[in-house]
């Protein structure tokens, strides 16, 4: 049985910011969760065979947030009946974690982190072309807390 069309095999990834109430200049992390249905697997971020499409999370650069390197989940090493080689794949729910640092600012504002998750999925019966899902995470940046000493120094300079 052919499972489904490429665009419907996987649900859209979910995003979560940790902690939820980030302030300017804070560090946190963005967690992108993909719930891979049973019977479906994705090539890992570092496939064992050349030419296979690695799963990649890309985030669009923004002046408000600095992104660290993506921490990819540990793949399953699996041998399928149809190939003599072992493949590193993702199955089930997987998380992609990105350390983030918010830019310093004295004014709070709402921003949206955007990007995409690219992957190549196979079902038990066929492989589907490379696809990508949009990734978005809305974030309300709270104003930066300025320490009293710093504030006093700045006030002194303006006197």
């Amino acid at each position: 049985v052919i499972a489904a069309h490429a665009t419907t095999v996987l649900p859209a990834p979910a995003t979560q910011l940790e902690p939820r109430d980030l302030r300017a200049d804070d560090r946190g992390r963005l967690v992108v969760t993909l719930d891979i249905p049973p019977g479906v697997h994705l090539q890992s971020h570092a496939p064992t065979e050349p030419f296979l499409i690695p799963t990649r999370l890309h985030l669009d650069p923004t002046a408000d947030v600095t992104f660290g390197s993506v921490e990819y989940p540990t793949p399953h090493t699996q041998r399928f009946d149809w190939t003599p080689v072992q493949l590193d794949v993702y199955q089930g729910p997987v998380e992609f974690v990105v350390p983030i640092t918010l830019a310093p600012t004295r004014e709070g504002r709402a921003i949206t982190i955007t990007g995409y998750l690219r992957y190549q999925a196979c079902t038990d019966s066929l492989c589907l072309p490379p696809a990508q899902h949009q990734v978005e995470a809305a974030l309300n940046i709270e104003p930066q807390m300025i320490p009293d000493a710093t504030r006093r120094g700045r006030l002194d300079q303006t006197d």
Binding site: A6, E49, P50, L52, W82, D124, L126
Partner: protein, 173 residues
């Protein structure tokens, strides 16, 4: 020579060339740059297979198409043609080089030729439905064998195709 050819096990196919159909001529660029026409091989038995660079099944099958099909049967008059579906020329050439393919590899960049061969499989786009398909075209240009991806029977060593070629071209050279 026994010419009884096993028919495909896929029974729900429509929208593709059937056994006995004559394949209209087509022309595609090869990874080496020249244009190749199917009619260039009229008078020979041609095995066409449809593949992509990103498909794990295709990578698994790739060495066997060179060493167990092309190298074994070329002396018996077989011509193998690989058709890269919706790939670009550079990637297709790299894939061919990596797997040591020495037969012509044609690049169907927009998939238009491959679509003509694709079975109608539950709404799958043609470029997916055609992947891993094998067509054998006889010397008169008609389809004598076809097989579509069937995971219950998928065999990266392509032994089922060898069985057919043994019947068409004589036993293994």
């Amino acid at each position: 020579m026994n010419t009884t050819i096993p028919t495909t096990t896929t029974t729900t196919i429509s929208g593709t060339y059937d056994l006995g159909d004559e394949i209209p001529d087509f022309a595609l660029p090869a990874t080496t740059g020249e244009t190749v026409r199917l009619s260039d091989y009229r008078g020979r038995t041609v095995l066409m297979f449809f593949t992509t660079t990103w498909c794990p099944y295709c990578s698994a099958e790739a060495p066997f198409l060179e060493y167990e099909i092309w190298q074994r049967y070329r002396a018996s008059g077989l011509q193998v043609l690989g058709i890269q579906v919706k790939e670009n020329q550079q990637l297709a050439a790299s894939f061919a080089e990596h797997h040591g393919w020495t037969f012509p590899v044609l690049v169907d960049g927009d998939g238009a030729v491959s679509e003509q061969f694709a079975p109608d499989k539950e709404g799958l786009p043609p470029e997916v439905a055609i992947i891993n398909a094998h067509f054998i075209v006889g010397p008169d240009g008609t389809v004598v064998y076809r097989e579509f991806l069937n995971m219950e029977r998928f065999d990266a060593r392509a032994t089922h195709v060898r069985g057919v070629l043994d019947q068409l071209l004589g036993d293994e050279p």
